[in-house]
């Protein structure tokens, strides 16, 4: 602003021009500094709480327990069967949960996108409300529903369908059901947002040209919805990899996922090097998946957060 007033005050041309350019540059620099000053407290906090500790942990992970520089913390991932089992479990759960989210989330997002505005916004409440309910509350709810003396089992026994309670909680199925419930909105919201942008004229044109409803969906709508689906899938998968609360509470100690392993190695065994190495690999895998996605689709996966 003041740069412009400087510009107006000075008569253009002549010796004033140099002075003007200098004043403008100085003003732009001051403006940059002011904006940086506005950003600096936030940037400092993020730097101190996220970047510094992660860098520190990375540094720690490069030394073995004797304090010697080594790759032992990383090598053990390939050597010890228990680590391999943790990774296998984690990816297995991540694939199943992501698949379940797609199977449940796609029809829901499709329905929401086709409903009239008013009905859609009412239905959306049912997606957004769980999204904003504590993960702990929802995990507790599933524990109540699925455990040995829980609702499902007592209903089924009362109805005479089963005589012995099914083991639904404290194992893989409990973890998968709980995580699917918690992560479903992360798939539905970006998918719904992208489906809303699909131009109905394209569908109408297809139907005009003689395509039936199924063909229109398969050949026009579905391909156009794929970018939205992809961003939802990436977010859900990445969140699965680092998920802690639900597997810790519903896994019954049998389903050890990546994040639980990190907690155990650091809190229980105080092996910071090993825990840090796990964290570094988790971060690298997460960033690689997000980076790959961004490179393939040119979109930012974090967009989902702005739709909350």
């Amino acid at each position: 602003m003041s740069a412009q007033s400087v510009l107006l005050n000075e008569t253009a041309g002549g010796p004033g021009r140099d002075l003007n350019a200098q004043a403008l540059r100085a003003d732009a620099r001051r403006e940059q500094l002011r904006l940086l000053a506005l950003l600096s407290p936030s940037l400092f906090l993020v730097f101190a709480i996220i970047i510094v500790p992660i860098g520190w942990l990375f540094w720690l992970s490069l030394f073995d327990e004797a304090g010697a520089f080594s790759a032992a913390n990383y090598a053990r991932f390939f050597e010890q069967a228990s680590y391999i089992k943790t990774f296998v479990t984690t990816f297995k759960v991540a694939f199943i949960v992501t698949g379940a989210c797609v199977l449940l989330g796609y029809p829901l997002a499709y329905m929401l996108s086709q409903l009239p505005r008013r009905a859609a916004s009412i239905c959306l409440i049912f997606v957004i409300l769980p999204f904003w309910t504590s993960v702990l509350v929802r995990t507790y709810a599933w524990l109540v529903i699925l455990q040995r003396k829980g609702l499902i089992n007592s209903w089924l026994i009362d109805l005479g369908v089963i005589s012995q309670p099914l083991s639904l909680a404290n194992n893989l199925s409990g973890v998968v059901i709980g995580m699917t419930h918690i992560l479903l909105p992360f798939l539905v919201l970006p998918l719904y947002a992208s489906m809303k942008t699909i131009d109905t004229d394209c569908l109408r044109a297809g139907m005009n040209l003689g395509a039936g409803p199924v063909a229109t969906f398969r050949q026009i709508f579905f391909p156009l919805s794929l970018p939205g689906l992809a961003s939802g899938v990436v977010i859900v998968f990445v969140l699965c990899l680092g998920f802690f609360v639900t597997p810790a509470l519903m896994g019954g100690g049998k389903v050890i996922m990546w994040a639980m392993r990190m907690e155990q190695t650091t809190s229980l065994y105080s092996n910071w090097g090993a825990g840090a190495a796990l964290g570094v690999v988790l971060l690298v895998v997460t960033l690689a998946l997000l980076g790959l996605f961004q490179w393939l689709l040119g979109a930012r996966a974090t967009g989902v957060w702005s739709s909350r």
Binding site: Q32, L38, V46, I51, L104, Q147, T200, W272
Partner: protein, 266 residues
């Protein structure tokens, strides 16, 4: 013919889709509803629907010193987080919105880092850092950690408000002689205040519901509600938690409704 979708498909042909979608919606909402109903049960057994109704679990919750203290800690931390994260996030959003900064992309990535970095890593890292500087088990430490978690949500919410605001209005105010602060406070701020309030509400709920980082850095006198709930759930399923959960669900509903109302006015 359905005029709503403008396609020659009737709602009747779509019936299967509505059924399927309805079932998924039920899957999403049923657990919360079941918990709310069960919190009014009189029995220690998990029965649904409950045979006898009572408020005994709410009494246990409000009378237990441990639960009460944990709730107070969580409320304190959440309120302080709102008062730190909202101004910081608003200032950051304002600067980013100018778009004239060099490294705008890097700054964006840094500010949204806490959404991308696995929370467990942030938890362990923060604990490790706090152990060195003596911030574990302190309110200050919790507020700082929660602020970092809440910042991206505030920034994104305020940024979306700023995007639909015409910055020229602030420029006009300044050319008419208003100072920088006065121009922001009197012209910009009233027009983006609903986004700022929404951002503050999101910051509150983010802090209040945060589990993983609190598990690592809170304890003793500063045990948060979520940490105590997590530990209680590890041992056994105590129906008191149904009452606490109901309170948390009600809190989410209230905050979301307020955010929604402000969003509409915006």
């Amino acid at each position: 013919m359905s005029e709503d979708i403008g396609l020659p498909i009737s709602h009747r042909q779509r019936l299967w889709l509505y059924c399927l979608g309805g079932l998924v919606l039920l899957f999403l909402i049923a657990p919360s509803i079941i918990i709310v109903i069960m919190s009014f049960s009189d029995s220690t057994l998990l029965q649904f629907p409950p045979q006898q109704w009572s408020l005994r679990w709410y009494q246990t919750y409000f009378q237990s010193l441990e639960w009460r203290d944990a709730t107070i800690v969580s409320v304190k931390v959440a309120v302080m987080t709102v008062f730190v994260a909202t101004p910081l996030g608003t200032a950051a959003a304002y600067a980013i919105n100018r778009g004239t900064l060099r490294f705008n992309g890097t700054i964006n990535a840094l500010l949204t880092a806490s959404l991308i970095v696995p929370v467990i890593l942030i938890g362990i890292g923060t604990f490790f850092l706090y152990a060195r500087i003596g911030l574990n088990n302190t309110l200050t430490g919790l507020v700082i950690a929660h602020t970092v978690q809440a910042l991206p949500l505030v920034v994104l919410t305020v940024l979306s408000g700023l995007r639909s605001y015409d910055m020229n209005q602030e420029r006009v105010a300044r050319s008419l002689g208003a100072g920088r602060v006065a121009a922001f406070w009197q012209v910009t701020m009233p027009q983006i205040r609903f986004s700022i309030i929404s951002g503050a509400l999101f910051a509150f709920i983010t802090s209040f519901d945060e589990v993983v980082v609190s598990l690592f850095i809170s304890g003793g006198e500063t045990t948060t509600l979520t940490r105590r709930m997590f530990n209680a759930l590890r041992d056994q399923i105590d129906p008191t938690i149904a009452a606490i959960s109901t309170c948390l669900i009600v809190l989410s509903v209230v905050l979301l409704s307020v955010a929604q109302i402000f969003g509409r006015r915006h």
